[in-house]
């Protein structure tokens, strides 16, 4: 009767009796998080030396040796990485992340300007992955021996194994540029699970007129730019969101399918069938509900990685988010931007983990009660 969410943090059940314990626990977790952040910064600054030298990019080809030395000294690039790291921390705790070497603007300003693009993309990809994954997962679980399920399962393997970069370029060429494609489409009837006929469809131009790059027109609301309110903004979201969400979607689909198959074998489902309850009610009201809990947990945790790994998708689609900013920063050796980005991402991960931990703490006993009741 124990599902995954209950067994995820078994050690906590014993550890937290009252509020004092909870406070102590949270304090410990916050302290651990701070330590993680410090270590991330340490590793990052140790690595920056191997990324290259920003001076050449900043000064251009006519620079003299004197210029180079002057700028190196001013930026403190000759100091050991520990000194540079300490200087960064000293400024960062005061909320000052310095100026981008590349753009000459405040790093915090640039990050805030770029963050909405990434968050909106991640949000839409997450939704897409969640709903697409759940629907396909249910479908492949209910028709586990069907031909269409096998096709979906095989195609999903492609989704997992093709690199994001390739998927993005492929989508652009199919739906922005457009190609002429002959498609031999097996006309498949889902009801009977049988091949009924083949139809040859010649698609003269596969283009759907979707934008291949950028965010379209955005509307600014109180410092937050959104693409949700314009037609071009919404259109621009489609291809990047599919590219970014495809992997997560296949992951969720497989998770839902496995969970669903598990649940469908349960006694209460059998009894429900024996009572003659319609299969739609059994599948969606009884089975699905019991499948969703682990799915939601996983999705929450995956949201962080969607944001962090949007880098490739953003590069392919010239999506003006923090991922693209980070790539540019690496190429230019824009140390202030790289440092701030890495810190931001780690704060985000640490924050999500902290929240998840605290949620378990709050939800754990209740979950147990609910499960006990429904079973």
């Amino acid at each position: 009767m124990i599902g995954p969410p209950l067994s995820l943090k078994p050690h906590m059940d014993a550890a937290f009796g009252g509020t004092t314990d909870m406070f102590g626990y949270i304090m410990r977790r916050v302290a651990q998080s701070a330590l993680v952040l410090l270590v991330v910064g340490f590793v990052a600054f140790a690595m920056f030396r191997f990324v290259g030298d920003p001076i050449d990019n900043m000064l251009g080809q006519e620079r003299t040796l004197e210029d180079i030395e002057r700028l190196r000294a001013q930026l403190g690039l000759d100091d050991s990485f520990l000194v540079q790291y300490y200087r960064f921390l000293e400024q960062a705790v005061q909320g000052n992340f310095g100026l981008s070497y590349r753009q000459g603007r405040e790093v915090s300003e640039i990050l805030l300007e770029r963050l909405p693009a990434t968050l909106e993309l991640a949000f839409v990809s997450g939704l897409l992955a969640l709903f697409g994954g759940i629907v396909l997962g249910i479908f492949t679980a209910i028709r586990k021996r069907g031909v269409s399920s096998s096709i979906i399962m095989s195609v999903s393997l492609i989704g997992v194994s093709l690199p994001t970069f390739l998927i993005g370029v492929l989508l652009i060429y199919l739906f922005s540029v457009g190609v002429d494609l002959p498609f031999a489409i097996p006309m498949l009837w889902f009801e009977t699970e049988a091949w009924s006929s083949f139809g040859l469809v010649w698609i003269e131009n596969t283009s759907l007129g979707l934008p291949s790059f950028g965010r379209g027109d955005v509307v600014e609301i109180g410092g937050w730019t959104t693409g949700f309110l314009t037609e071009s903004g919404l259109k621009a979201l489609i291809l990047p969101a599919i590219t970014l969400g495809l992997y997560q979607m296949t992951l969720i689909m497989r998770l839902v399918r496995t969970e669903m198959l598990e649940v469908l074998r349960m006694d209460y489902i059998r009894f429900a069938r024996a009572r003659g309850i319609r299969s739609r009610v059994i599948n969606f009201r009884h089975a699905l509900k019991n499948t969703l809990v682990p799915v939601i947990t996983i999705t929450g945790l995956q949201l962080g990685s969607i944001i962090a790994f949007a880098i490739i998708t953003e590069t392919v689609f010239q999506w003006p988010g923090v991922g693209l900013l980070f790539i540019n920063a690496i190429q230019f050796v824009d140390i202030p931007v790289m440092a701030a980005y890495l810190m931001m991402i780690s704060v985000m991960f640490v924050g999500i983990n902290l929240i998840v931990d605290m949620l378990y703490f709050a939800i754990d006993p209740r979950l147990r009660v609910d499960r006990g009741g429904s079973n």
Partner: protein, 525 residues
């Protein structure tokens, strides 16, 4: 199902192609780094600045001088140390204030200040003075016959505007200051800045009061500039009709773009030559397997290595015809370039082997080649090709290809003995090449000379170029220096890069060798 799909597809296809005749949507790989015209000396930054600001003299799309804010320029009679420039009358900045001699003095001084990236081009200028409101004199520390060539990317700012906005100083990034001029503009150029989000989108519209309204086509009334970093996406955006004009078309996509209805690719030789440098100075070098000797120090080895490189094969296979094999490290536009030297490279593996044997390296040696992989067109692939070619004469090359941010510091810090470098010549004069690549490395000159080559006689000759006013004598000296560079095989020239611009057939322009489209020259059908 069939009809539905086809219908939907055609409908969308027609909407995608339709574009306004006067708006030019332009994409290239990178964005301008700053709007401050003196803060960066770099291609994309200058290209955007050229639309908004203007220098005294510009180069047109063929590379020839053209009057911009100065109408004419000449050395002062009787004083070779002074250039006299007459300024254009009736020019106004975008905010309406008049352009005068005062602005020239102010702009040159600003561009000479410590944080300016343009100051190296102006080192010879000791004073700029106004004769009257529309005449200025540039005083140099000696005769400077090629001064105009140093002014073609030197933009004129409005003194009043700049001072009113406290932007007199060029931004000091190390000092943590931001400036008004790096995100706002007030130029005299043909286009006015409408909006800008760095790295995302910049919109410019035609300047209604532009002085050259009747002189230039000025067919583009609005420019929408969006950097698209990924080459495949950039090409896709042109193919899908989302942009009208792109720079940096990857060589593998040229045919595809060229064969698409409604699109053309225009090609021209670029002002950039690609070559290998060899560290021939020291008695022993670190990155080879020869102890106690430097094989690169022997001119026979350098000649043999050059002879082993099959430039035609690189042109055909690696560059897909998009390059011109080179025999000297000067692009063809540059004063001092000559056909004989540029076609002097030949491939002869047997003769190269004989030279290697002569030099005592018949058994060959091994050496590391450092190469960038994100700087020049197919840079890493060129190096890979060279590895195979050099193996034929017994030189075993270990290729170390890495991003430019890691590659160029190797040359800077003398940590490489065999490296790839590309060079463009903004002044269109050989002196620029000699100053950076041939002169002994020192405080003032030779900062990109990673060859360890140092010859007092050559250095002396290079130094005379700065102030020799007799152009024939100067050209003779340039030729002498080139002869030394060629005889010593200081570098192994590979090829001249070729520029490709992709555009819709409506766009009319020639390709500028500097890769800097100036939209006032564009026509639109």
């Amino acid at each position: 199902m069939k009809t539905k799909l086809i219908l939907a597809a055609t409908l969308l296809a027609t909407t995608a192609v339709a574009a306004s005749a006067e708006t030019l949507r332009w994409a290239r790989a990178g964005d301008s780094l700053t709007l401050d015209p003196h803060a960066q000396n770099e291609g994309p930054t200058h290209t955007l600045a050229h639309q908004i600001y203007e220098p005294l003299i510009i180069r047109d799309h063929s590379g020839a001088f053209q009057a911009a804010l100065a109408t004419d320029w000449a050395p002062k009679e009787g004083d070779p140390n002074v250039w006299v420039l007459n300024l254009r009358q009736g020019v106004t900045y975008h905010d309406g204030s008049a352009f005068t001699a005062e602005d020239v003095i102010f702009s040159i001084e600003r561009a000479k200040s410590e944080n300016s990236a343009m100051k190296e081009l102006l080192t010879s200028i000791t004073e700029v003075r106004a004769v009257d409101d529309h005449t200025v004199e540039f005083v140099t520390d000696g005769p400077n016959p090629i001064l105009p060539a140093n002014l073609t990317n030197l933009f004129m700012m409005d003194k009043t505007w700049t001072e009113a906005n406290a932007a007199e100083a060029v931004q000091d990034i190390a000092g943590g200051e931001t400036t008004f001029a790096s995100s706002n503009t007030n130029g005299t150029g043909a286009y006015v800045l409408v909006s800008r989000e760095p790295d995302v989108k910049t919109v410019l519209s035609a300047n209604e009061n532009y002085w050259g309204k009747d002189e230039f086509p000025l067919a583009v009334s609005e420019i929408v500039y969006t950097p698209i970093q990924n080459a495949a996406t950039r090409v896709a955006a042109l193919l899908s009709g989302e942009v009208d004009f792109i720079q940096d078309v990857p060589v593998q996509d040229l045919t595809r773009v060229g064969e698409t209805d409604g699109l053309v690719v225009k090609t021209a030789p670029q002002n950039r030559v690609i070559f290998f440098g060899m560290n021939q100075g020291p008695d022993d070098i670190a990155n080879d397997n020869v102890d106690g000797a430097n094989p690169l120090g022997d001119v026979r080895v350098r000649k043999a290595m050059s002879m082993a490189i099959n430039r035609d094969a690189i042109q055909k296979v690696v560059m897909r015809e998009q390059s011109a094999p080179a025999g000297m490290i000067a692009p063809p536009f540059v004063n001092g370039w000559n056909q004989a030297m540029d076609s002097s490279s030949s491939t002869d593996v047997d003769a190269a082997k004989a030279l290697m044997a002569d030099a005592g390296y018949g058994e060959g040696f091994s050496i590391q080649l450092d190469c960038p992989n994100d700087r020049y067109v197919n840079d890493e692939a060129i190096c890979q090709a060279a590895v195979g070619m050099l193996a034929q004469i017994g030189v075993t090359v270990n290729l170390n290809a890495q991003p430019k941010a890691q590659h160029f510091p190797l040359i800077q810090n003398k940590e490489t003995d065999f490296y790839m470098l590309g060079w463009g010549v903004p002044t269109y004069d050989s002196e620029y090449i000699f100053n950076f690549l041939v002169h002994t490395r020192g405080e003032e000159r030779g900062s990109w000379n990673g060859t360890g080559f140092s010859d007092e006689a050559t250095d002396a000759k290079i130094q005379t170029l700065a102030s020799e006013t007799d152009l024939d004598a100067r050209n003779a000296t340039i030729n002498d220096i080139w002869t030394v560079v060629q005889d010593e095989q200081l570098y192994i020239p590979i090829h001249h890069q070729v520029l490709n611009w992709g555009m819709t057939t409506a766009v009319g322009t020639e390709v500028s060798p500097e890769d800097d489209p100036k939209f006032k020259f564009f026509t639109m059908n």
